[in-house]
Amino acid sequence: MAREDATGVSVKAAKFDYILAESVEEVVATLDRGDGEAIVIAGGQSLMPMLAMRLATPAMVIDINNIAHLSGIDVRADEAVIMACTRQATALASPQVQARLPLLAKAISYVGHQQTRNRGTVGGSLSHADPASEIPLAALTMDARVSLASASGTRQVALADFFLGPMMSARADNEILLSVHFPLGSNDTRMGTAFHEVSERKGDFAVVAAAAQIQLDANGLCSKAALAIGGVDGVPRRITGLEARLLGSRIDQDKIRAALPEIANAITPGDDQHASAAYRRRVAGVLAERALLEAVAEAEQ
C-alpha cells in the first residue's frame, strides 16, 4: 500500500524507499549506494516496530526475503552453517539443529513466541545485536562465526569480536550478514548443553540468561567449557575466567560455586524498571550455576 493511499493507519513509518532484492549482489550494491542510510529487512520482528515507531528512519529498506539461497541449514564435516534468512521456527524444528546444535535449539525455544519465530530469522537476531537476546548468546557460547558480505568481498568474524555494544556490531553499514557458522566437535564427544533464562513473562527478552556448553573427556574431566551470560552488559558476555577454572577438572557443584565469583568481574549490568543491576548480578550467578550443572549432567549421561 502506498503511503498516499493509507487512510488512518496507526503504523506510520517515515518515508523510505523499498527494494525487494533478488540477489546478494543487488543487496550489497544497494547497501554501498545507500551510504549508511539503507537497512536490510528479513523477518522484521524487531525492525518493523522500530520503523512504525520511527525509532529507525532509514532512507532505504532492502527486503531479502526473496533471495532463496539465503535460507537453509547445511551440516558439513566440521561446521554447521545456517543461512541468515532461515526462520527461527525452521531452525528450532530442524532435526539437524536439535542433534548437532542442541544449545541453539534450546535457546531458540525462548525467543519470542511461535508466531514471531515463524517470521523472525537467525541472521536477523544476530544482526540486531540485542544484548538480552537468546540467539546471540547461544551462538557466542558455541564459538560461532558470521560471514559478512559487501561489494568488496566476504569476510568472517568470530562472534567474540562481533558484538560491540547494545544493537551495535562489527558489521559495517555496507555489509550484509550472510550466514552463521558453528564449529562441530566429533560426534562421539561427551557434550552437554543448557540454556536458562528468567524473564517476567514467557517470550520476553531475557532479564538474565545463561548458556553453557560442556565437553568431558573419557575420564569425565572437563575438556572444554563455555559459559556466557546475557542481559547483564552491553553485549552477551563469555565468562572466560570461569571457563578456565573448570577446565581439566571434574565439575561438581562445589567446583562451580568456587568459580562463580568470576562472573562479577566479567559483567557490567545496568538498572531498568524491570530489575536492578544488583538483581542481575545475583541472578547471573544463580542461572550460571543451574546451566552448568544441567550441562554437566547431560554430558555425563
Partner: protein, 798 residues
C-alpha cells in the same frame, strides 16, 4: 418489582450463545476505524518530552508548509476557542485543556495537533514542529506532592491536594480502646490500568446542512456528550454521538474527551471529517488512561480471637496531572468499606493529589480493587499476627447468611449473600486439603509455595451519590438507565438501548430479558444502539450496572408492552384483563381458550385498526421505561451514611503459587474461584467476566505497572515495558457459580463485570505472602515484581 427467578426462567440463566461473538470472531465488528466518510482527514498529536516545562514558543510554520497538511493547532489556539474540560470535583483553578497551554504537566501531554491528508503526512509534520520548552523540576512522588508548600502542578490552585476528606462511621476510638490489640500496616497499589488492544479513536464530521456535529468514538463514559458540548460551547442538542460503533476493550478507561473535543473542533473548522486514532505510544503516555495509584496506611483493631473491630484507613491517591473523575475512585469504595466482614466502625481519610504524571481515569471497579486488596491484607496481617488460620479468621468475621439485608457502618445495606457457603464452594473446588498437602510437599522439597485466600465484594448497580460525599453541592441522586421496546407491524421486537457497549454482551443481555418477559425467542429480537440525540436517559455501561439497570429497564418496558397487548385484547374480547392469559404473545380467555387474540392480530390492531383500540389509546406499539437505581435516591444522613450501590456480589479466590527463590519469579499454577452474582443472565458472559477479570487482576498483582523514573520520565509506553500477562501466565481457572438472588432486581441478578478483577490481586498477594511466610517475609506493594521478591528473599539491595 415482581421478581421471576429460578425454575420459572426459560432463557435467563440458560447457557445460550452470546450473540455478539459471531461478529467479533468473524471480523465483522464495526469500530471507529471502520466508519468510512469521504474526504476524511487524519490527525496526529505532538507529545511533550518533559514532565513539567514551560512552553515558551511553538513554531508551526514548517509543518504547515508541508504538502498535504491542512492545519496545525496549538494549545493556546485551542484554548481561545473552548472551555476547560469540566472535572468531577469543582476545582476552578485546575484547568484542563485538550492541548497543553503555556505549561506541559506530564511527559506525553499533547501540545499540538496536526491534521493532514493521511496519517503518514500528519506524522511527518509533527517532526517539523519546533517547541521551545523551559524544563522545570517535576513533582513525582505523591507524598511529596501532598506535603509540598510551594511547588505545584497547578500553581493557580495553590496546592497539589485535589481532595482531602475525613469520614467517621461508628465509635472508632471506643472500638480501638476496647479491642484486645491493634496493628498498623502500609499497602501500596501500583499504577496500572485496563489497557485494551484497541486504543481510543474518534471521528467527527460537522454537518453544515443540519448544523449537527456527528461523532463516532470508542467511548464508555457517562456525561460524555455533555462534557463535549460544555467544552466546545455548543448546545447539547447540536452534538450527535453514534453509539453503534464497537468500542473494543475499556472497563472504564475509554474516556477520550480531549480527543473528541479536538476532532470535533477541527472538523468544524476545516469543514471535513477528521479522525484521530491513538497509536500505542500516544495511548500509553498521553491517552489519560492510567488507573489508581494508591498508598494505604491502615490501623486495625481486633480481639485475640481474631474478630476485627475497627479500621482506620488513610488512602493517598496519585491522580496525575489532570484528575477528571479520578478522586471519586476514593469515594465509591465507601459502599463496601468493610468488605464482607462484620467490622463495627471505620475512620476513612481520603486524599487525592496531583503530580506530573499522566491523568487517572476510572478503571474496573472504580477504586474497589485497591480497597479490597487493602482489606484482605488487613485480615491476613491480623491472622499472621495471631497465628490464626486465614480461613478461620474469615469464618469468624464474614457476615452470616441470616444477617441480610446487612447494614455496614457507612450506611450501605448489603442486599443478600451467603459468604460462608461460597467460600466453602471455593475450597471444595480447589480441593483445599490436597492443595495444602501439595504446598507442604513443595516446601519440604525446598521450594517456596503458597496458597492465597481472598473473599471480596463487588458492588454493582452504580449510583452517583458518592459524588455528594465529596462535594455537597452535587445533589445528584439518580443514575438511571432506560430503554425503548418497539413491536413492529410484523410483530417483530426491537429493543433500543442508549449507550455504546464495550464487550460486555449487552445485546445478549437485553434480548434475553425481553425474550424472557415477552416469551419470544431472544435470538429473533433485534437490539440497536440509539444515537445520543434519540437515546433515552442513560448513564452508560459503567459500575457493574447494566445487568441490574438495563435489565430493570427492559423488564419494565416489556411489562408495558404486555399491558398494552392485554388492554387491546381485553377490549376486543370484551373481557376484564384479570380473565386473560398471556402466552408467547397470544392472549386468551382463561375460561375459554378458544377465545383469543394472536400476536399478529394485536399488532395489526395497534398499527392499522384504530377503531379496535381501547378508547383513548394511542396507536402504535412501543414502550419506554426509565429505571431508577433500586434503593437509591437519598442524600446521606447527618453521619454521612448512605446507600451507594444497591447490589453486592461476592467471590472467594483460592490460587496456588510457587516462587523460584533464585530469581524471585512467581508462577501461578492453580486457581479456583467461587462466584456469586445472584441470577446469572448468560452463563458464558459471566464466566468470561470472571476469568478475564481474574487475568486482569493477576496482571495488576504481578506484572502491570506504568513506571516513571525519578525525573518524571515515563518508562512504560510499549508492551515490552508495560507487561500484560499472556495466556502463558494465566493458569487454567476452575470456577463455580453460586446463586444468592438479589431481592432488588428484576430476576435476582447482581453486577458481574468487574468480576475476578476485584479479588484476584488480593488473592495473589495472599498466596505470595503465604509462600514467603516460612522465611518471615512479606511484600506489601503491587505489582510484586520478581526482582523485588528476589531482593527480599536474598536480602540484597533492591
Amino acid at each position: 418489582m415482581n421478581q421471576k427467578t429460578g425454575d420459572n426462567l426459560r432463557y435467563v440463566a440458560h447457557k445460550r450463545r452470546v450473540r455478539e461473538d459471531r461478529r467479533f470472531v468473524t471480523g465483522k465488528g464495526k469500530f471507529v476505524q471502520d466508519v468510512a466518510l469521504p474526504e476524511t482527514k487524519h490527525a496526529a498529536v505532538l507529545p511533550s518530552p518533559y514532565p513539567r516545562a514551560r512552553i515558551l514558543a511553538i513554531d508551526t510554520t514548517a509543518a504547515e508548509a508541508l504538502e498535504g497538511v491542512a492545519m496545525v493547532l496549538t494549545g493556546q489556539q485551542m484554548a481561545a476557542d473552548c472551555n476547560p474540560i469540566r472535572l468531577g470535583l469543582k476545582l476552578p483553578e485546575v484547568k484542563w485543556y485538550p492541548l497543553a497551554v503555556e505549561m506541559a504537566r506530564y511527559a506525553g501531554e499533547w501540545v499540538a495537533i496536526v491534521v493532514a491528508d493521511n496519517a503518514y503526512i500528519a506524522e511527518d509534520a509533527l517532526e517539523l514542529i519546533q517547541v521551545d520548552y523551559e524544563p522545570l523540576a517535576p513533582i513525582i512522588d505523591p507524598e511529596q506532592a501532598f506535603a509540598e508548600t510551594d511547588l505545584f502542578v497547578h500553581p493557580g490552585h495553590g496546592s497539589n491536594v485535589l481532595y482531602h476528606g475525613n469520614f467517621l462511621w461508628g465509635d472508632v476510638d471506643g472500638d480501638f480502646a476496647t479491642a484486645d490489640d491493634s496493628l498498623t500496616f502500609r499497602a501500596r497499589w501500583g499504577r496500572s490500568s485496563t489497557v485494551p488492544i484497541e486504543t481510543f479513536g474518534a471521528l467527527a464530521r460537522w454537518d453544515e446542512g443540519t448544523e449537527i456535529l456527528d461523532i463516532w468514538a470508542s467511548i464508555q463514559m457517562p456525561n460524555f456528550v455533555e462534557l463535549l458540548a460544555n467544552t466546545l460551547g455548543y448546545p447539547l442538542n447540536s452534538i450527535r454521538l453514534h453509539q453503534d460503533v464497537d468500542v473494543g476493550g475499556s472497563y472504564g478507561v475509554k474516556r477520550g474527551i480531549k480527543q473528541s473535543v479536538l476532532v470535533g473542533y477541527l472538523s468544524r473548522k476545516l469543514r471535513v471529517p477528521v479522525r484521530l486514532i491513538e497509536d500505542r505510544l500516544v495511548n500509553m503516555a498521553g491517552g489519560d488512561a492510567h488507573g489508581p495509584d494508591r498508598i494505604f496506611d491502615t490501623d486495625v483493631a481486633f480481639n485475640s480471637d481474631g474478630i476485627i473491630k475497627s479500621l482506620k484507613i488513610r488512602a493517598l491517591d496519585d491522580a496525575g496531572a489532570y484528575p477528571g473523575r479520578a478522586p471519586f475512585q476514593l469515594a465509591k469504595p465507601i459502599s463496601a468499606i468493610v468488605g464482607p466482614y462484620t467490622i463495627n466502625s471505620v475512620k476513612y481519610e481520603a486524599i487525592s493529589v496531583a503530580t506530573n504524571k499522566t491523568g487517572q481515569v476510572p478503571v474496573r471497579g472504580f477504586g474497589q480493587a485497591p480497597t479490597n486488596y487493602m482489606i484482605e491484607m488487613a485480615v491476613d496481617t491480623v491472622a499472621r499476627h495471631l497465628n490464626l488460620d486465614r480461613l478461620e479468621i474469615r469464618r469468624r468475621n464474614l457476615i452470616p447468611s441470616d444477617a441480610f439485608p446487612y447494614q455496614i457502618p457507612s450506611g450501605s445495606n448489603y442486599d443478600s449473600g451467603d459468604y460462608h457457603t461460597v467460600l466453602q464452594k471455593g475450597l471444595d473446588l480447589a480441593r483445599y486439603d490436597e492443595l495444602l498437602q501439595r504446598r507442604d510437599r513443595a516446601r519440604a522439597e525446598g521450594r517456596l509455595a503458597g496458597i492465597g485466600i481472598a473473599t471480596c465484594l463487588e458492588p454493582g448497580g452504580g449510583n452517583n451519590i458518592f459524588e455528594y460525599l465529596m462535594d455537597p453541592t452535587a445533589e445528584i441522586t439518580t443514575f438511571m438507565e432506560a430503554c425503548e421496546v418497539k413491536v413492529d407491524p410484523q410483530g417483530k421486537i426491537t429493543g433500543m438501548m442508549g449507550t455504546t457497549t464495550s464487550g460486555q454482551g449487552h445485546e445478549t443481555l437485553f434480548a434475553t430479558i425481553l425474550g424472557e418477559e415477552l416469551e419470544f425467542d431472544p435470538d429473533l429480537i433485534r437490539i440497536v444502539h440509539a444515537d445520543s440525540l434519540s437515546a433515552l436517559p442513560t448513564r452508560s455501561p459503567v459500575a457493574s450496572r447494566m445487568a441490574i439497570m438495563l435489565g430493570g429497564a427492559a423488564t419494565g418496558a416489556a411489562g408495558k408492552i404486555k399491558d398494552r397487548a392485554m388492554a387491546i385484547a381485553a377490549f376486543n374480547l370484551d373481557l376484564p384483563v384479570e380473565d386473560l392469559e398471556y402466552s408467547g404473545g397470544t392472549i386468551s380467555d382463561r375460561n375459554d381458550p378458544s377465545r383469543k387474540l394472536t400476536w399478529a392480530e394485536i399488532c395489526f390492531i395497534a398499527y392499522r385498526a384504530y377503531h379496535k383500540l381501547p378508547p383513548g389509546m394511542e396507536p402504535g406499539f412501543h414502550a419506554q421505561y426509565v429505571f431508577q437505581v433500586p434503593g437509591g435516591g437519598q442524600l446521606p444522613d447527618a453521619q454521612n451514611r448512605v446507600q451507594i450501590y444497591p447490589c453486592f456480589s461476592f467471590q472467594a479466590h483460592v490460587p496456588y503459587v510457587e516462587i523460584d527463590p533464585g530469581t524471585g519469579k512467581v508462577s501461578v499454577l492453580d486457581y479456583a474461584i467461587a462466584h456469586d452474582c445472584g441470577t446469572v443472565i448468560n452463563p458464558d458472559i459471566v464466566r468470561g467476566m470472571v476469568i478475564g477479570g481474574l487475568a486482569h487482576g493477576i496482571g495488576a498483582a504481578l506484572y502491570e505497572k506504568f513506571s516513571y523514573d525519578g525525573e518524571g520520565q515515563f518508562l512504560s509506553a510499549t508492551f515490552a515495558d508495560y507487561l500484560m500477562p499472556s495466556v502463558h501466565e494465566i493458569p487454567d481457572v476452575k470456577d463455580v457459580e453460586h446463586c444468592t438472588p438479589s431481592p432488588l432486581t428484576s430476576h435476582g441478578q447482581k453486577g458481574s463485570g468487574e468480576g475476578g478483577y476485584l479479588g484476584a490481586p488480593a488473592a495473589i498477594a495472599s498466596a505470595v505472602n503465604d509462600a514467603l511466610h516460612p522465611l518471615g517475609l512479606s511484600i506489601t506493594e503491587l505489582p510484586m515484581r520478581m526482582s523485588e521478591i528476589e531482593a527480599l528473599i536474598n536480602n540484597g539491595p533492591g
